[in-house]
Symmetry: C2
DNA sequence: TTGTAAGCGTTATCAT
DNA sequence: ATGATAACGCTTACAA
């Protein structure tokens, strides 16, 4: 790659002038402008981003940290964040923490060492350590999809209470009264929130959640199967299920069909996330849609705003999920 | 972040010595070593990667370009490549070309401007332009998942003829003789290869592919539905289908169930890719597995080897897909 | 309007 | 074994 030096030589000006032309920071003479632009074109010159970044202390780089890459929610985030970053002329450096706090710390450190302009986290694993690291740096950072107790960083989350309410309302409105809930791991705050809202809303509709039908699980396909087998082996009756993600819902679907239970005729099923899988399943899955695109856009917006003005106060945005009705739910008793 | 200068001052040595300690390039005295190491620890010093990269002309960065991020094959590649890169202490900078050659060129340029050490491409859209760009740079580059006609770059691909053969053999062995094939876009070489091998292998088994049952499509879920509706409306009979990706196969499954055709009782269905969706569907999908993990590992290996020694000749690795048998295929006539 | 030169944080050469 | 110092490619006072 050619450098400004070569451009300057070819155009017969100083490198400072070349820099001025490129960043059009101060006016330059018409003819020198032309000369420089010609030289730039001739050499196909593009400023080296490391040198620039080193000088101005900005890598035009956004770091994105997700707990795992192969996971629909994160894929969606990666996709939209990449797109948004691109539109603002930032490159994206991607890392998964491989579920290991050491890796996470290593990765964050690397980002800092690259003069990233901002960092977007999804679901930090080990909050304190990373925050401690970041706290001194005064670098814009947004946590997405999981609020931290810590108020020092901005966050973009979905309203998990709404999610629970939507699921409860839908099942209740369809006339279901024997209802099961397969949650994610209950040490994750958002899972507890979802369950709490779900339970309470059902209660408001006069439906008490049978505790045998509440099953904390690990978000996997197999978890859905396990949970249903558990319900059946306990002899607990149910006509409605909410699984806290689509993947577990797929497992539920599989297991119910193995037991010759029809969805939605015998059991109505709601998922969560609205991953693309939801529409592909048969029957297609009624689910609670997480607004991934909006989350991503919001996160990038916040980071970019804070990059432009570090003084901007931390913000905490809560977005609302929505109910997407497909084939897997129907009124109770419909044959 | 602290700099070498500060470390040097604290340790009472020159910054050159600090550099030596960090890269342990030449021996240093035991006690200065201790002093420097203490200072490094005290300041939590990590060398700035932009400065280093600028100086040694290597960003310890691998660029990955995929045509789209939300696509199981690429997610899988991103995941494994990230993991492999991490293990070799490289960061990953990710970009999709958004199906736009301009974006692609922009992105590649950015990578070069960041002194990336290597680039891994998946399915280049506009081959000549990008290659022209890259050709002068002498930077290690590997094309994955789609061989270029161009021999100048290394490639890691799967054997698409094998894929076609495996699908044909499996269906033929199960006794199917009326067989359909839903391909990807036929302007993509690998789709043609798959079809050619599929057709020929069937022929070798004495089965002629009915041309009304060959349907070029666009890899989408809807495509699978469209294709089956097309077959049925033409009154073409079939008991076996190969869809050239799992997503279209999911559409096929959906459409067949809408027509009350049972899989595998009435129709046997094979997909391709072995995305995680395959196991989640009901019935679970027999499919041709692409060895994404091995592809990723191989690609990273090649890039790293070429980084270490630019003189290493271009290599072209072809990996073999394999048949994964699940529930969606069965012997013909089985009721 | 343009050029000179310092500096960003490293590495590497050349002395000592 | 260690220290000055130039260089990597750029931006930005400061001068002219």
């Amino acid at each position: 790659m050619s450098s400004m030096k070569e451009v300057a030589k070819l155009a017969g000006v100083s490198i400072a002038t070349v820099s001025r032309v490129i960043n059009n920071t101060v006016p330059v003479n018409e003819d020198t402008l032309v000369k420089v632009k010609d030289a730039i074109r001739a050499l196909n010159f593009k400023p080296n981003l490391l040198a620039k970044g080193l000088r101005i202390k900005s890598g035009r780089l956004i770091g994105l940290v997700v707990p795992e890459i192969v996971h629909h929610a994160f894929v969606s985030l990666i996709n939209f964040i990449h797109k948004n970053a691109y539109e603002h002329d930032f490159d994206l450096i991607l890392g998964s923490n491989l579920n290991n706090p050491d890796v996470e710390e290593y990765f964050i450190n690397n980002l800092l060492r690259r003069n990233v302009d901002g960092i977007i986290f999804s679901r930090v694993s080990d909050e304190s350590r990373v925050l401690r690291l970041l706290d001194k740096q005064n670098i814009p950072i947004v946590v997405i999809d999981r609020a931290l107790e810590d108020e020092r960083v901005s966050s973009v989350t979905v309203n998990n209470s709404t999610a629970g309410r939507l699921a409860a309302d839908h099942l209740a409105a369809l006339g279901h009264r024997e209802i099961a809930c397969i949650t994610g791991p209950l040490n994750i705050t958002l899972c507890r929130e979802r369950l709490r809202a779900f339970r309470q809303r059902l209660l408001e509709a006069g439906i008490a959640l049978d505790e045998r039908l509440v099953c904390p699980e690990d978000f996997s396909f197999e978890a859905g199967i396990r949970a249903v087998n558990g319900f059946l082996s306990k002899g607990a009756r149910f006509t409605g299920i909410w699984a806290q993600n689509d993947r577990m819902a797929a497992g539920v679907l599989k297991c119910l069909s193995q037991h010759d239970l029809k969805v939605p005729d015998d059991v109505s099923l709601i998922g969560m996330d609205d991953t693309d899988m939801a529409a592909l399943l048969t029957p297609s899955l009624t689910t609670i849609k997480q607004p991934f695109e909006e989350m991503s856009r919001t996160a990038v917006d916040i980071v970019l705003r804070q990059i432009q003005d570090r003084a901007i106060p931390r913000t905490h945005i809560v977005l609302e999920p929505s109910l997407v009705i497909r084939e897997s739910t129907a009124a109770k008793g419909k044959e």
